[in-house]
């Protein structure tokens, strides 16, 4: 398998990256987090391509994958690059962190930083691509491994031995007795919240929490709407361990749009289509991957191009066409499963560069790969 892609390499000593609403976030190894205009970076990088039409097509495609007049079949693989000096000139805003974050995320105009000191929330101004100068707001003050933000300022935090907690801060305030609770008491360093489904990967296996839908925001929200919203936000989700057909707990799970994928301890990947019911069972598609039993599995996530699995020594993409190695022992990697523009992107931080892949989005014949997210149905 060789899924077609365009790749942009950005030279530098980095540890993490994120893309959100036209802004590229990069965490440098010196714990500096900077923002850059994705449009400016693309323009500079793509200017290296001599063909004007191709240049315009690639620019449009990498800015929003729904613009795909770009034909992968008629073009050779395209790799573009930016050196570290050029990147520095494009810097928009910078904050200095106390150390490397364990996770970063950007959602609803907030930047979240997870670290050994907890979770800090920074205001982000998408119009200017900048992190505002206000000091961060501390949402959680103990070790945070991963954060999964969702609509209406709802957050799930994988907090290690404490488990998975949910937090519902209001503008720069949080009442610890009301707005914060432990959802799952099993130790966890990994969670993902897509739509109404929160997947928590714990030391005892994977759990699914199904949250009630939030009311739709009316054109002119009144008090009744806010009351309904607050009530819905505080409603308990239905949580259950994820099991295979033999009622054996899945070791790890992740979402691919509406699909739920999971692996068991015997090296099988399961794909389950319907996740809206808490009573549903995983039963649809199985695939045995011997490597899952032979090498240490670290994490998995999905994009429009398939599922990415991180093993101890390699990062591999799986889809129905096969598998493709992307990197050996990357420093970090990230996909954007809720992003309409960047659902086809894969960020891979290697020792001396950040490589951003934009994969072909041609999901032909209305068939969506079992291991991938449907670009027409992003939650």
């Amino acid at each position: 398998m060789n899924t077609s892609s365009i790749s942009l390499s950005i030279e530098g000593d980095f540890v993490d990256s994120f893309i959100y609403s036209g802004t590229l976030f990069i965490v440098h190894a010196n714990s500096q987090l900077s923002t850059y205009s994705w449009g400016r970076i693309l323009k500079y990088a793509i200017d290296q391509i001599p063909n004007t039409t191709l240049r315009r097509q690639i620019n449009s495609f990498m800015f929003d994958c729904r613009n795909f007049p770009f034909d992968f079949n008629n073009n050779d693989p395209i790799s573009i690059a930016i050196d570290s000096e050029t990147l520095e000139e494009m810097e928009f805003s910078t904050i200095y962190l106390d150390g490397w974050p364990s996770d970063i995320n950007v959602y609803g105009n907030y930047l979240y930083i997870c670290s050994e000191d907890g979770v800090d929330e920074y205001d982000f101004d998408r119009k200017t691509n900048t992190i505002t100068a206000n000091p961060p707001f501390k949402i959680w003050d103990q070790y945070a491994f991963m954060i999964a933000p969702n609509d209406s300022h709802r957050l799930a935090i994988a907090a290690g031995e404490i488990g998975v907690i949910t937090a519902f801060p209001k503008k720069r305030s949080i009442d610890y007795s009301k707005d914060l609770s432990i959802l799952i008491e099993q130790p966890s360093s990994d969670c993902e919240w897509i739509g109404n489904n929160l997947v928590s990967n714990t030391s005892e296996g994977a759990y699914l929490s199904v949250f009630p839908s939030l009311p739709k925001t009316p054109q002119n929200p009144d008090q009744e709407y806010w009351n309904l919203l607050n009530q819905a936000k505080r409603s308990e989700p239905k949580t259950h361990p994820l099991e295979n057909e033999n009622h054996i707990n899945l070791k790890y799970a992740w979402m691919a749009g509406e699909k739920l994928l999971g692996i068991n301890r015997q090296g099988k990947i399961y794909t389950h289509i319907e996740t809206s019911s808490p009573d549903s069972q995983i039963q649809h598609k199985e695939r045995y991957i011997s490597r899952l039993t032979q090498e240490r599995f670290l994490a998995a996530r999905a994009g429009s191009f398939g599922t990415v699995i991180e093993y101890e020594n390699e990062l591999v993409i799986y889809n129905e066409s096969g598998e493709q190695s992307v990197a050996k022992r990357p420093v970090n990697w990230r996909v954007f499963p809720r992003s309409k523009n960047y659902i086809n992107h894969l960020h891979v931080v290697e020792n001396d560069l950040l490589k951003i892949y934009a994969f072909d989005v041609n999901q032909s014949n209305h068939h969506v790969d079992y291991y991938a997210i449907d670009i027409n149905n992003i939650i």
Partner: protein, 127 residues
């Protein structure tokens, strides 16, 4: 931090206890040597009487059970009873949330004991 004595604890040197306690796979002298290096290099937790040590990713120092699998360990944690100033240590797994502080990981990275991928994975509980 005061040091009066170091005690090699038997429960981390009894393979029959592997389901409950991590086990050293290096000699008692190596266990002590790792402690002395950590003490001299000030590989400490801020505000906690804890020391951390490693010989790097290539040099296994212990084992533990991770679910049903036996896992190799590369990081040692040393703690003390603050009343007695007697230290002891054991090998730990970041996957079980024993994670050295940022300050120590940065020093290990500078020394070349770990690389960027190791540091990132340790912080994320994936090492």
């Amino acid at each position: 931090m005061i040091f009066k004595a170091y005690k090699v604890k038997n429960d981390h040197r009894q393979p029959s206890l592997i389901n409950k306690k991590s086990q050293w796979t290096v000699s008692e002298w190596d266990e002590l040597n790792l402690f002395i290096i950590a003490y001299n290099e000030d590989w400490t937790s801020p505000n906690k009487p804890q020391l951390w040590s490693t010989n790097g990713r290539e040099n296994k120092i212990g084992e533990c059970m991770d679910g049903k699998s036996l896992t190799d360990l590369y990081i040692a944690k040393y703690i003390t009873d603050s009343n007695h100033h007697e230290w002891h240590g054991y090998p730990v797994s970041p996957r079980q949330y024993d994670i050295p502080p940022e300050k120590v990981l940065s020093l290990w990275l500078e020394r070349g004991l770990i690389d960027k991928t190791d540091k990132s994975r340790i912080r994320g509980g994936k090492f």
